[in-house]
């Protein structure tokens, strides 16, 4: 009976029990069955971790807003993951990574919408015939890229928290995951994108050679997305916070900042730790393959760790020593995240001590940006734009300073130019600056148009009544929290009903 079993796929473990696997697993690098499967497993696990960051950000937001808006912020976090998935499936992934097709060019991708092209998504028939189950990484790659797209979209919710209408949120999730973000991905991470480090062209001999912008550079180095993800989301966040206006009571008539204290440092910290944990999928996972890349991946993990630590400690230092505040949790959590964002571009290109410095600078930049926004009377409840946009810019630029020859060679197999601190002559730095400029301009311009339009249509911000009562009671059927051992649940539900009856929602 065992002889006729085709050694393949599911059920083998069940059917054969303790019989040895009959198929030989060859360990030729990058070619064998095991290598293919490990690549896919690596991408999948990384995708799951990055997805879990959605949970982390949800909790961070909940902990940082007032209790009366809890359900609102939770719902937004669930919905942007879901809308993100559907949009990414329909056209997002295609705009980002659809290559070598009639509709694709250096600006935008254009193949395989709705995953319709079976040639792109099915296993290779030739490989199957030779006895391998060629593991086409399409689906695993889609998972990984979706998780990143959802990350970019959800950043904005922090900037508009506590006063944004739900339908505005739906609109901008569509626009960001369906248009703004995938185009940036195409520029920087596809094989055709004009900024991409992976852009190739056929030379006179018919061989593929790099064809990047600025010949003497590597193209834009953004390993896991300081620019692509964090600048894009953070830029949209900045424009959103500016256009939607500050929360009621945030600035008094003299422009002094009033603390609108978040409800739960515990949840905020839990959320931040989950984000940090998930970042170990975000950064090391961006090797995209397993075989021969685990050295780079592990170095990424170390750099990620040190940068987070640097950001948190630097922010602690500035807050307590320079500004003489008692040590408080919220600045340090944001400083951690600032460090994580800052290393996201260069985690595979810098030395660990470089990562530490980059994180410290990120913390300082975050702190400065946060204070500056407040002076400009821009209210960003989660400090989303200081953490993501400004530290994203720093992250992109830091590569042009700190990229070392050995790391660049190890990661990209060539080193036309390196960071200027290591003898580079500025071409790489130039590309990094160009990339930061164009991404920033792109995201800020589209976001400005979008949010301004939403505001002009009157669908961006909730009414002042609803904002004061709290979005949960006015929009989400009741308070999120109903403590009390004496059936105050009844009171809350009655309040909800009364509130709804008093405020018919348009």
């Amino acid at each position: 009976m065992a002889g006729v079993l085709e050694p393949h796929g599911l059920g083998r473990a069940v059917l054969q029990g303790e019989e040895e696997r009959e198929m030989e697993i060859r360990l030729e690098p990058r070619q064998g069955q095991l290598a293919n499967d490990l690549d896919i497993l690596w991408l999948l696990l990384a995708a799951y971790l990055v997805f879990f960051m959605q949970c982390g950000f949800a909790l961070l937001e909940v902990g940082s807003v007032r209790a009366k808006n809890t359900k609102n912020i939770l719902l937004k976090n669930v919905v942007d993951a879901c809308i993100g998935a559907v949009v990414w499936y329909a056209w997002g992934h295609s705009f980002a990574h659809g290559e070598n097709g009639d509709g694709s060019n250096a600006f935008i991708g254009g193949t395989n919408f709705f995953m319709h092209n079976s040639k792109d998504i099915s296993p290779d028939e030739q490989d199957k015939a030779s006895g391998f189950n060629n593991a086409n990484p399409y689906f695993a790659f889609w998972m990984f890229q979706w998780a990143f797209a959802a990350t970019a979209a959800t950043i904005v919710s922090g900037a508009v928290a506590e006063r944004c209408q739900f339908r505005a949120y739906i609109v901008y999730t569509f626009v960001i995951t369906g248009f703004v973000y995938p185009i940036v991905v195409h520029w920087v991470w596809s094989k055709e994108g004009w900024l991409s480090a992976f852009r190739v062209d056929e030379n006179a001999n018919g061989e593929e050679e790099p064809d990047v912008v600025f010949d003497k550079s590597l193209g834009m180095i953004d390993f896991a997305g300081s620019g692509v993800v964090h600048m894009t989301g953070g830029g949209a966040a900045l424009l959103a916070a500016t256009i939607i206006g500050p929360r009621y009571g945030r600035f008094d008539k003299d422009g002094m900042v009033q603390a609108l204290v978040g409800q739960s440092p515990a949840l905020a910290t839990l959320g931040t730790f989950i984000l940090w944990f998930g970042w170990y999928g975000f950064n090391p996972g961006s090797t995209l393959v397993f075989y021969e890349h685990m050295y780079v991946a592990s170095k990424c993990a170390v750099n990620t760790t040190l940068s987070a630590a640097g950001g948190g400690l630097m922010t602690l230092f500035i807050d307590t020593v320079v500004f003489s505040n008692p040590p408080d949790i919220s600045p340090i959590l944001n400083g951690l995240l600032a460090g994580l964002v800052s290393i996201t571009a260069g985690c595979a290109s810098v030395e660990p001590y470089g990562a530490l410095i980059i994180g410290c600078c990120g913390g300082a930049i975050y702190y400065t940006a946060s204070k500056t926004l407040k002076k400009l009377l821009i209210d960003d409840p989660l400090d989303a734009s200081p953490v993501h946009f400004f530290c994203g810019i720093w992250g992109v630029i830091s590569v042009g300073l700190f990229a070392t020859p050995a790391n660049v060679m190890n990661t990209y197999d060539r080193k036309p130019d390196v960071g200027i601190f290591y003898g580079g002559d500025g071409h790489q730095l130039g590309v990094q600056i160009l990339g930061a400029l164009t991404i920033g301009l792109w995201t800020c311009t589209i976001s400005f148009i979008m949010f301004w339009t939403l505001r002009s249509l009157g669908i961006l911000r909730v009414s002042q009544d609803q904002e004061l009562t709290g979005l949960d009671i006015s929009r989400h059927g009741g308070a999120a929290f109903t403590y009390g051992g004496d059936d105050s649940a009844n009171i809350t539900s009655a309040n909800a009903v009364t509130a709804l009856q008093m405020q018919p929602v348009k």
Binding site: M1, V4, P7, H8, G9, L10, G11, R12, V14, L15, R21, D37, D39, I40, L41, L43, L44, L45, F51, F52, Q54, C55, A58, V62, R66, A67, K68, N72, L75, N77, V78, C82, A85, V86, Y89, M115, N133, A135, P137, F139, W142, M143, V261, S264, P265, L267, G470, R475, H476, A480, F481, Y483, G484, G485, N490, T492, S493, A496, L500, P504
Partner: protein, 452 residues
């Protein structure tokens, strides 16, 4: 490598215990938080015991008949290399068991719940698992010869709509029905009153952890990664799409219903969270055998099934289910089996399930879903599986809970229920009085952080 994959997937599924615990905690009133958390914690533990002593053997015993396994009890004579499978399958058993904690929350005796947990993992669940997942089971799709398959097809239940979610959800139905509604759930005229949970953040934390863990539940059910990574990756994509579609459809439908009923637009976060779970449950049977576009449809319909059955359970059956566990697991589980029987794709069946041979040892293809052009045999098998599981579970769990009720061991006293199970049974409230400031929750200028 495969063992690592199975183990890691098992850890993810185990983490779903935490997710369901948080979902339960957030969905009950503050005065019962400790009770439901403890129930979740201990069904994880008692479930392990039951699985070890009897469950694994009944499900996957080395020697077995069509109905149940006959060996490998207490891991006797089980080689160590199969231990990863024990762990993975334990996590599934614990998932089925913990579903009931939501349905019977806030009024069930702690002791009754522990006895139930042991009973389900040691007898009711493993037999169903054997039918569908062991290669000797009468309903299984894992046979070599097509003539051995039930109805020529077997039941396609890749990761457990029937085995896990129907078993758990229907047990929840039996339990919730027998234990009766919470005090105050139905008013004097029999109209239901809402009893909201005490923490939407904990509930949604739970939903996110469950979704995350589902990436072990579904892709991990390939039971191998070498040679099966394409199956795992497709499972992950389908899982994502179904969860998203389910959440969106449940959110929209509940918004439309509330607008129709009260004239107000309410975006229900708990509905969206449960909708995501409904989508996840719905895709669990078919995640490896349907195309991504089908996963979107299956999840979307799952959201509808959840909202409709939630109303059915509450208004028609008049059963009080604090978490809507019955709607999400039993009914979406049934839909998930039907969906597998309808949308299963020819080529994907071939790559996810072992090759099939006819009587003359020639390869033969499997029956695929009617929506994809196949005949209806797969659907008929799915419906048979549903009926068999319905019968088996209710036949055991209704008398089980009825028996407990008869000897007064099922429900707590009304005074205890009113006071809150934490104070009456667990040594005090989960939330010390000084943490709760009355009146500041909805205040116009925001409350202070209660922990500060």
């Amino acid at each position: 490598m495969d063992a690592f994959f199975v183990l890691f997937s098992g850890y993810l599924v185990f983490f779903m215990q935490c997710g369901f615990c948080m979902l339960c905690a957030g969905s009950v009133r503050g005065k019962n938080a400790k009770n439901v958390i403890l129930k979740n914690l201990l069904d994880t533990c008692f479930g392990a015991l039951g699985w070890y002593v009897m469950g694994y053997g009944l499900a996957f015993g080395e020697t077995a008949n069509e109905f149940l396994g006959e060996s490998s009890f207490a891991l006797r004579d089980v080689p160590h290399r199969v231990y990863s499978n024990w762990m993975f399958q334990y996590a599934f058993a614990a998932t089925a068991t913990t579903i009931v904690s939501g349905a019977v929350a806030e009024r069930t005796k702690f002791e009754a719940y522990l006895v139930y947990a042991f009973f389900l993992t040691s007898w009711v669940y493993p037999v169903v698992a054997h039918w569908i997942w062991a290669h000797t089971g009468w309903l299984t799709a894992f046979k070599v010869f097509s003539a051995d398959l039930f109805n020529g097809t077997g039941v396609i239940d890749f990761a457990g709509c029937g085995v896990v979610h129907m078993v758990g959800g229907l047990s929840g139905l039996a339990g919730a029905w027998m234990v009766g509604p919470r005090l105050g759930r139905f008013d004097a005229d029999g109209k239901p009153r809402e009893i909201p949970g005490h923490s939407a953040s904990l509930a949604l934390l739970g939903v996110f952890i469950l979704w995350f863990g589902w990436y072990g539940f579904n892709p991990g059910s390939a039971l191998a990664i070498v040679g099966a990574s394409d199956v795992a990756a497709l499972c992950a994509v389908n899982t994502t799409l179904a969860a998203s579609a389910g959440s969106i459809s449940a959110l929209l439908l509940s918004m439309i219903i509330s607008y129709y009923v009260s004239g107000n637009i309410v975006w229900d976060v708990i509905g969206a969270g449960n909708g995501a779970l409904a989508g996840l449950v719905s895709i669990t049977a078919s995640c490896s055998v349907v195309q991504p576009w089908a996963a979107l449809i299956i999840g979307f319909i799952g959201g509808f099934v959840y909202v409709a059955s939630s109303n059915f359970v509450l208004h028609v059956l008049k059963v009080d289910d604090p978490l809507d566990a019955i709607a999400v697991h039993a009914f979406c589980g049934m839909w998930g089996l039907v969906a597998a029987g309808s949308f299963a794709d020819d080529a994907l069946l071939r790559s996810s399930y072992p090759a099939l041979l006819d009587d003359s040892n020639q390869p033969v293809s499997r029956n695929y879903g009617w929506v994809m052009g196949g005949d209806g045999k797969l659907l008929v098998s799915a419906v048979t599986g549903i009926v068999a599981i319905l019968g088996w579970v209710l036949f055991h769990m209704v008398p089980f809970f009825a028996g407990l009720k008869l000897v007064g061991l099922l429900r707590v006293l009304p005074e205890q229920e009113h006071e809150g199970l934490d104070i009456s049974h667990h040594g005090g409230s989960a939330y010390p009085k000084e943490m709760v400031r009355s009146g500041s929750w909805g205040s116009a200028h925001g409350g202070e952080a209660y922990i500060k």
